[in-house]
Symmetry: C2
């Protein structure tokens, strides 16, 4: 089969880690007889620098005519500390999510036995953790109306949700729970927010069509505590955009390395796969970035295309690299391996 | 001197723990020759049950004519799981904050040497942590306009901030940093939210009048990670209402026991002191609730009234109780001490 993959490497370490994922996919192609055609396109700060637009039309077109998108990372400090910047890299990512209809971000958080030592949490707390976070990705306060008063003294953001927006992601979360530990935890702030109360009502109704799945509720402040106190209690966490951003990033570090976590953003049609980590500009060009999250994103991409055996092969190659400690220095202080050599090892193991 | 203290014990374990704080204050009064006059008033679920209103006028009056408010906890599961309830205990607390002008919530997070073992974090990570969180308490999405469409299918909450709201708490945070490690970290989501960009602009300007204090910025998702990865990097965290709710609750568990953390809510006039923990309804009436957070709230109250020696005496009595392991079972599994006996020990130690 032939597949077209859009490569949106983005900023900072994005290009380096996406390169390793491409090597892995090429090895898969050679081994299993598939043809992957890669189309590169710019997004984020690099796109602003080149075109003035964080998501040029051409990039969107490339994504729309591809079978899936492999995303690196975006963001640059020169925009972060400038509240007056008119164009920002993040707008590119937000628009991409919206335009491709990627309304659900899926982030697995799993404690790898071999990495328990690297977790900031004590072993007995992190052990057995295996959850997946379903974060709504195209609604809420990220996309609500933004206002700044004429005189610049009052600013606001609107958090709005409709029943339909909640329903579609809720169904995905319940379906996922069915294949797992059969529990959905809705994270919200229903004791204060009207939008959260809508989430509670809609999700409670939908739960009735999934009688084999248990539903419980957690206020977001309590969820932030439970994630540290007892992360293994969770199976599927379902939540709105902003809470999902915070809780899933918190979840991403408890396992021991954010350099290992991949995520999928799915929706109507084309899906996108990306590491959890950011663009880490300080690390760019130094061959020190951990490529595993990007490689695992490629594995999620394969699974999404129905290539399950291929995905499993990539996952196994990654596990082998970790076992043999052929990893970057974030996972092993004394390691001599860099981004490229880890990528090569994984690709060779696949082939 | 004579002081009037409003006692708003609230729901669940609130009354039990506030009782122990009262014992401590009485011991302080006897020892140092002060007179504390306590006026009780209802708030939260108990106030709804008795009067239909989570914050009756009478309660507000009691607070307004007192020198300070000692608050217990509010909340009841019968409201939490009912998104259609018209009146909720939390409204009482929110209205109280607003009416008393308590625009800043101050939460110290400190790793007690004797309790490092109880932290979910590894010792080398939690050690040395000593931060204080300044959370804006009367603005943002908690208090912004809430809407539910006629047909109930669309809900929204508005997050709005004005320059003035940001300035007043920012000054308090910078002043606090001056007496500490001279660093303020603003937590926001300025790469996405207009209101966060206003925070960045205003706080950056104010920082110029505090040249001896360093200012840095952290996106809230990153802050949720840093709180676990490297909590000792923080001195003063300054943030808006909702982010403060999440981040400070996350911070509250890293130290090992939420049963030890007190907070102050300050603003224009009367200040309020309360434990971080909630109403823990399952524990009510069982003499198992840890009273220390409430007792430490009383110590913060004393300091606020200018009674620093008195406050120090209470703090020392609490430390003694912890050292001698005269603590409830959340701190020592095999403990035979209950809420009351711990409270008695602390009061006797003060006297
Ligand atoms: C870059 C930023 C807009 C983005 C977000 O908050 O959604 C990122 O933090 C993420 O979680 O993918
Ligand atoms: C009870 C609730 C409204 C409150 C809040 O979120 O402010 C509580 O969680 C707190 O942090 O004091």
């Amino acid at each position: 089969m032939k597949y077209t993959i859009a490569l949106l490497a983005g900023d900072g370490i994005g290009p380096e880690v996406v390169n390793q994922a491409v090597k892995a996919l090429q090895a898969v192609g050679d081994t299993f007889g598939h043809e992957f055609e890669f189309e590169e396109a710019v997004v984020g700060a690099i796109a602003i620098d080149q075109t003035g637009d964080p998501l040029p039309e051409a990039t969107l077109d490339v994504c729309k005519r591809s079978n899936a998108v492999l995303f690196g990372a975006i963001g640059d400090p020169k925009y972060d500390n400038n509240p007056d910047a008119k164009v920002r890299p993040e707008q590119g990512l937000l628009k991409l999510r919206k335009e491709l209809g990627l309304f659900t971000n899926i982030r697995p958080v799993k404690a790898y036995e071999t990495l328990l030592d690297k977790s900031p949490l004590k072993k007995d707390i992190i052990e057995g953790t295996d959850m997946v976070i379903y974060r709504e990705l195209t609604g809420g306060i990220y996309f609500g109306e933004k206002k700044l008063s004429e005189d610049g003294t009052v600013a606001s953001d609107l958090c709005e949700y409709s029943e339909a927006e909640i329903e579609r992601i809720a169904h995905l979360a319940f379906k996922a729970a069915r294949t797992r530990k059969k529990k959905v935890t809705l994270v919200d702030k229903a004791n204060v927010l009207e939008s959260s109360r809508l989430w509670r009502r809609v999700v409670t109704t939908i739960a009735k069509s999934y009688e084999d799945v248990a539903l419980d509720f957690l206020f977001v402040d309590n969820a932030a505590m439970q994630m540290i106190l007892n992360p293994s209690q969770f199976d599927v966490i379902l939540t709105e955009n902003m809470f999902g951003d915070i809780i899933s990033d918190e979840g991403s570090v408890i396992g021991g390395s954010i350099g290992l976590l991949a995520s999928a953003s799915v929706g109507n049609d084309v899906a996108m796969f990306e590491p959890i980590h950011g663009s880490f500009p300080q690390g760019a060009g130094k061959d020190i970035a951990n490529p595993i999250a990007s490689v695992l994103s490629a594995a999620m991409l394969l699974a999404h295309l129905g290539l399950h055996e291929e995905a499993a092969t990539v996952n196994k190659a990654v596990e082998r690299a970790i076992e043999k400690q052929i990893v970057t220095s974030d996972l092993n202080k004394n390691s001599e391996y860099g981004t490229n050599s880890v990528g090569d090892y994984i690709a060779n193991t696949i082939a």
